[in-house]
């Protein structure tokens, strides 16, 4: 099971509606993944600034943390709290100091890094998770979400999707990989670190390692067809890109739709029915083992 929802806007007039639309898509996929949910939203980015997504235990005092981080950064830190997560924006030249301070803290974790991407995920029903984080109010250019029915590892926040293993990079997965332990060992040998025993995190790590070595997203997705074994439908986000890939046997369901204003992915068509202009959209099933990729220019 599991459900995937992804939305890539071509018409930026829809940017204020991005979070609301994704929220509806995720809720429609609740019965495919009722145990946890998560999403990555690609919002505004400022030159010279970096966004860090922090995650902490419930009722953590982010204000107190920001005051002390502000001293390290040499200026007040702009931040937004979303339930157990907070997204902070800091000058890139202060990132090292802030990040090293965070490493020593046991109650708060840095879970995503991006110029434009913020990642939110928690255990719970998709509608509840979306409401707790205030997804409806989030804006941006593209977003990737997931509803999880765990098969390969425990139901934990860390085990929820999306997985992010690189700056502005995230991946959601429906399926199960059979060679993830081998691939994980090789990536660890190359210096990568993993938070979980989850197979999907390995897929994310593989894409990130390829891109870190200079591959384009297109190339990284193409090479994952031979490097990763198992069942998968991936939806992948980068700062400017939105990719879709199914395994050659196409075990897991997938539907795509496209209009002049947006491209959308849903594990089932039910996830797409409330998108604006869906009745006139081109609706199709993505072919097995074919890389689908949209980029903002």
């Amino acid at each position: 099971m599991c459900g995937i929802a992804g939305l890539f806007l071509k018409d930026q007039k829809l940017a204020p509606e991005l979070g609301g639309l994704l929220s509806g898509m995720l809720e429609a996929l609740s019965d495919r993944g009722p145990d946890s949910a998560g999403f990555a939203v690609y919002g505004d980015g400022d030159n010279g600034q970096i966004k860090l997504t922090l995650r902490a235990a419930p009722s953590f005092d982010f204000a107190e943390l920001m005051a002390s981080l502000g001293k390290l950064a040499g200026a007040p830190i702009s931040y937004q709290v979303h339930d157990t997560h907070a997204v902070i924006s800091i000058p890139t030249d202060r990132e090292a100091a802030v990040a090293s301070a965070l490493v020593g803290m046991k109650d708060v974790d840095m879970v995503a890094r991006g110029k434009r991407m913020a990642v939110f995920k928690e255990v719970g029903l998709p509608a509840d998770v979306a409401r707790r984080f205030g997804l409806n109010a989030m804006t941006g250019t593209h977003a990737v979400g997931h509803t999880r029915m765990a098969t390969e590892s425990a139901v934990t926040t860390n085990g929820a999707h999306p997985f992010t293993t690189g700056t502005d990079q995230c991946l959601v997965h429906n399926g199960s990989l059979s060679n993830h332990n081998d691939v994980r060992r090789e990536l660890i040998r190359q210096g990568m670190t993993f938070r979980t025993e989850n197979d999907s995190e390995v897929a994310a790590g593989y894409i990130s390692s390829q891109m870190a070595a200079g591959a384009s997203l297109q190339d990284a997705m193409t090479s994952s067809l031979s490097a990763l074994d198992g069942f998968y439908t991936f939806v992948i986000g980068t700062e400017t890109g939105f990719g879709v890939l199914r395994d050659p046997i196409a075990c897991k369901p997938a539907v795509m739709a496209e209009t002049d204003r947006w491209v959308a992915f849903g594990t089932e068509y039910r996830a797409l029915v409330d998108l604006p202009g869906i009745d006139a959209a081109k609706v199709w099933e993505p072919a097995p083992a074919r890389v689908y990729l949209w980029e903002r220019h």
């Binding site: 046997i249 196409a250 369901p253 539907v255 089932e268 068509y269 039910r270 797409l272 029915v273 009745d279 609706v283 199709w284 099933e285 072919a287 097995p288």
Partner: protein, 228 residues
């Protein structure tokens, strides 16, 4: 003519009403609007009724159909007309995986493409796909005819029994024990009838190639005795 809007009316009510139809009913032509990709629309029918569904449907639409004629004006999710016994199911758009799977009878017509495993384990159903079909179509197909006006994906007819496959375009590859066979006059007659029934015009049976079982896989062969 009953008209059901699934945006406001529960699917279970529609299916229950269709199951409760009796011989003296006047409700022989139904229209269904706003299917919104819901699963299991018009499943388990056993009455000669006409159903028109306006929009994309989810999984298993018209599954287990007997006698009814169901039209989907849009795309269909996995397992359209799965295990159909008789009647006719028509999809004006594309169909997802396992269209017509394990069908025993009736006619399934898909105006667009069907994806992987179309006609898997078919047991007597006839399927006409005006576009192309995906990989592993007619896998373990036992009886019935699969007609593809476009192309077929990899491993067509893998482990096939006695179903007959007709493909007008290219075949990416044939599955185990599936071979091309001569297209004889008797096959052309059957194919012409199916094309007519499916409303296909301007296409001659001569344009197709016929595929079927080499019968080496499912018959006992003395050379394999050590395997038993």
């Amino acid at each position: 003519m009953p008209s059901v809007d699934l945006a406001s009316s529960p699917l279970r009510e529609l299916n229950s009403a269709l199951h409760a139809l009796t011989d003296n009913t006047n409700a022989t032509h139904w229209t269904v609007s706003n299917p919104r990709g819901q699963h299991n629309i018009a499943v388990g029918l056993d009455f000669p009724v006409e159903i028109e569904i306006d929009g994309h449907v989810g999984y298993y639409c018209a599954g287990m159909n007997k006698q009814a004629r169901v039209t989907v004006r849009g795309n269909a999710g996995q397992g359209i007309a799965e295990n159909m016994m008789s009647g006719r199911v028509h999809v004006t758009g594309d169909a997802s995986q396992a269209a017509g799977a394990s069908g025993n009878g009736g006619l399934l017509v898909i105006d667009g493409n069907a994806s992987a495993r179309c006609g898997i384990s078919m047991k007597g159903i006839d399927i006409v796909v005006k576009g192309s079909v995906g990989h592993l179509s007619a896998f373990m197909a036992q009886a019935g005819k699969l007609v593809v006006l476009g192309d077929a994906g990899e491993a067509l007819g893998d482990s096939i029994y006695e179903a007959q496959l007709f493909v007008r375009g290219t075949v990416a590859s044939l599955g185990a024990d599936c071979v091309e066979k001569p297209l004889k006059d008797e096959h052309k007659v059957e194919l012409k009838k199916l094309l007519d029934d499916a409303g296909v015009e301007g296409v001659s049976p001569d344009e197709f190639k016929r595929y079927g079982s080499a019968r080496k896989l499912y018959h006992f062969h003395i050379d394999n005795v050590g395997s038993y």
